[in-house]
Amino acid sequence: MAIHTLAVLVENSPGVLARVASLFSRRGYNIDSLAVGPTENPAVSRMTIVLNLEGHALDQVSAQLFKLVNVIGISEMKSSDSVQRELLLVKVPANPVTKGIAAKFDAVITDENDQSLSLEIVGDKDQIEQLLTALKPHGIRELVQSGLVALERGAITLADRTLTTMGTANESNPENKTADYQN
């Protein structure tokens, strides 16, 4: 298993999700999870893509992704260097055992009635898996997960990093055009 997490800055424009999905589908890259949302810059959205790469090099995937005109920058989020979180909402039968598990895992009870209990937990992949493992014998009625989001540790931002590493540095270069196809 070759699991990688990519943080991708994209222009906030129509069709951009379809472009990314189309590329992944066409080239046979497997997506484990995908989370998209707005960023501090209203013109830019951020995707966090968890990829299961079998037989594909991460460099090649990034290079193909970066060819999309709407993709502004890409960076790998390594688990050692980033904060990674996922949101889980899960519906289980309401009883003392499930309530006990919720308390043990610091899960928030978001809804409760005679029959069921809805729990919310935010955590990394392991924490969520542990909770689900604990709940499973008691009957999971429904669950929904947000997909992973990740933020690099330290002061540097993805925007800083991608502008310096993804080939945009020569933006001011007057020769930054092939002169050959100019109309």
Binding site: V10, R26, F66, V69, D180, N183
Partner: protein
């Protein structure tokens, strides 16, 4: 600022982008644009099928290096552009397609002639747009031309809703295009240049593996310099024919499935591939795991995603090939002034293969015309300044093998997508872009029947191309595979096209001169008759032997080591060569 319609803004934008010609067909959704087109200085050529418009734009772009433009209406007009756009994108040809879309409020309602052409073309355009606000038209057009023509060139589609063409807007063409996510690297890194020069100076068996990128970057002169300062033998891929003169003593010909023994074998035995604007396509490498097993690889390309896609690169150089070669040539010269490896044994070896296994063909025993002979004679008689286009199949391979190419942009074909029917419309586009050049379409009888209606366009618009139909009455390449791999079971490859259709009469019906040639002794005079006609398109139906096959051949999925010179005949290697 004065108010104009979106349609007027579109036409003004195309003029501002420098468009001088476009190929298209009007229809409901694009109709508002055709009113200002009527008054524009842009020449609009009314084609007979949108596919023809797309390939014509491609042919124009391939011949001139400028962006080719095609225009169509929504729905079927747009979907008919799908094949040529996929074709242009695969061969990195700068093309911009303009399509009308149903009015904004109707989008998504399955309206009459509605097709999601932006969605459809997403996987095989470099980028595309759906414009629903007339104010966005100038920016979208400027960006489309910028994206199509810079970096690795490609196809861009701009789909414009009909109401955006009808509504009022102001025309304000951007002076500069700035795209946050699109800034192709064109200048190579000094370290990569130095590393490449060092590898070249250490190699004893180098080959220059030249792809279509050299032509796209207008870097043929710089390539010639690199070849001559190093003495390295050169192979030119199907997309690169003409990037290096065929007459040059260092040229080994084309590599790949139907490449020369010398070119294929030189790559196999090389210790270094100096790869320039080529992409290790399966038709070149054969079975990838056995391709050039002992070679280190220098890979120079404008597209970073090509590096390591199929073959690991020991040194990757990202940039425009002209810029790369302008830096690499002096660096190599400098390094070679200190250490000059002796390439003589290698040169002797590869040039030995070239003389021992030249391209050739047998004359049919029954006295019928050999297709290779026809193509060879057209090449000889019309000369190296002629622009040749071809369809896809046997005639394409023979045209790449038996015509001597001396100049870039003289050989236009569908290399990547392999689009049958490319030849006639591409020749039309090439002739429009280069009206002073003789343009020959070398076509097959199968291909010709896919797109020949554009001869009507040629006849009516004073576009005097010449078409040679290499008529073997069959889908020849498929038939060849049936001969070799399906026990001669010719399932659905017999076109029966000796007289149905009657190509001579068909040509005449379309306003062209129709000629026919059925005997070897008539070949030259028929070609000369065609060469003498310059005010009308000419179509020559050459009846040729149907069992002729393309050789050499590396069967699909096989190793390049298993090249056969003719059926079941492998080259005989001296023991030290193996």
């Amino acid at each position: 600022m004065t108010k104009v319609t979106g349609a007027q803004s579109l036409v003004n934008s195309l003029e501002a982008a420098g468009v001088d010609v476009m190929f298209g067909i009007p229809g409901g959704a694009i109709l508002p644009a055709y009113d200002p087109i009527f008054d524009s200085k842009i020449r609009h050529i009314l084609v007979r099928h949108e596919q023809g418009a797309g390939h014509a734009a491609t042919g124009y772009a391939q011949a001139t290096g400028r962006v080719g433009v095609c225009i169509a209406t929504s729905g079927p007009g747009a979907t008919n552009l799908v094949t040529p756009l996929a074709d242009a994108q695969m061969d990195s040809v700068p093309v911009v397609a303009i399509t009308g879309q149903v009015p904004g409020p109707a989008i998504g309602t399955d309206a009459f002639q509605e097709a999601d052409i932006r969605g459809i073309t997403m996987p095989f355009t470099k980028h595309n747009y759906l414009i629903t606000d007339p104010d966005d038209i100038p920016r979208a057009i400027a960006e489309a031309f910028h994206i199509a023509s810079t970096g690795r060139p490609g196809a861009v589609l701009v789909d414009i809703a009909k109401d955006a063409l009808q509504r009022m807007t102001t025309f304000d063409y951007p002076k500069q295009v700035s795209l946050a996510g699109y800034n192709p690297v064109t200048q190579p890194k000094a370290q990569d240049i130095a590393d490449a020069a060092t590898l070249i100076s250490q190699s004893k068996k180098p080959v220059l593996y030249v792809g279509g990128g050299v032509i796209k970057a207008n870097a043929a002169n710089e390539l010639l310099i690199l070849a001559e300062i190093t003495g390295v033998p050169v192979v030119t891929t199907l997309m690169a024919r003409g990037a290096f003169p065929d007459s040059h003593p260092q040229h080994l010909g084309m590599p790949g499935m139907h490449g020369t023994v010398a070119a294929v074998t030189a790559l196999q035995k090389a210790d270094l591939l100096i790869t320039l604007g080529a992409r290790f396509d399966d038709r070149v490498t054969g079975k990838l795991s056995t391709f050039a097993p002992n070679a280190k690889v220098i890979h120079a390309d404008i597209d970073p995603a090509e590096i390591g896609k199929n073959r690991h690169a020991d040194v990757a150089i990202i940039g425009d090939l002209k810029n790369i070669l302008l830096k690499l040539n002096p660096a190599v010269k400098e390094v070679l002034s200190k250490v000059q490896p002796d390439l003589t044994p290698w040169q002797n070896e590869v040039y030995g293969w070239r003389s021992k296994y030249p391209l050739g063909y047998d004359k049919p025993a029954d006295g019928s015309v050999s297709p290779q002979y026809v193509i060879e004679r057209i090449g000889k008689i019309s000369g190296p300044k002629t622009i040749f286009t071809s369809g896809v199949g046997q005639h394409q391979m023979w045209a790449s093998q038996f015509i001597g190419y001396e100049n870039p942009r003289t050989w236009l074909n569908s290399g990547g997508l392999g689009t049958m029917g490319y030849a006639v419309p591409a020749a039309m586009g090439a002739k429009v872009g280069a009206p002073d050049s003789t343009v020959w379409a070398i076509d097959g009888d199968g291909c010709f029947q896919m797109t020949n209606q554009e001869l009507v366009t040629c006849a009516l618009n004073n576009i005097p191309i010449k078409v040679a139909i290499i008529n073997n009455e069959s889908l020849g390449m498929v038939r060849q595979w049936q001969t070799l791999f399906y026990n001669g079971r010719y399932s659905n490859t017999n076109l029966e096209s000796k007289r149905v259709p009657d190509f001579k009469m068909l040509a005449e019906a379309m306003g062209c001169v129709g000629l026919r040639c059925e005997r070897p002794e008539d070949v030259d005079k028929t070609i000369e008759a065609a060469m003498a006609i310059n005010d009308q398109p000419v179509v020559v139906d050459f009846s040729v032997h149907r069992d002729a096959m393309v050789w050499p051949m590396v069967a699909a999925g096989s190793s390049n080591d298993d090249i056969t010179t003719v059926r079941s005949m492998a080259p005989v290697w001296d023991s030290q060569e193996l």
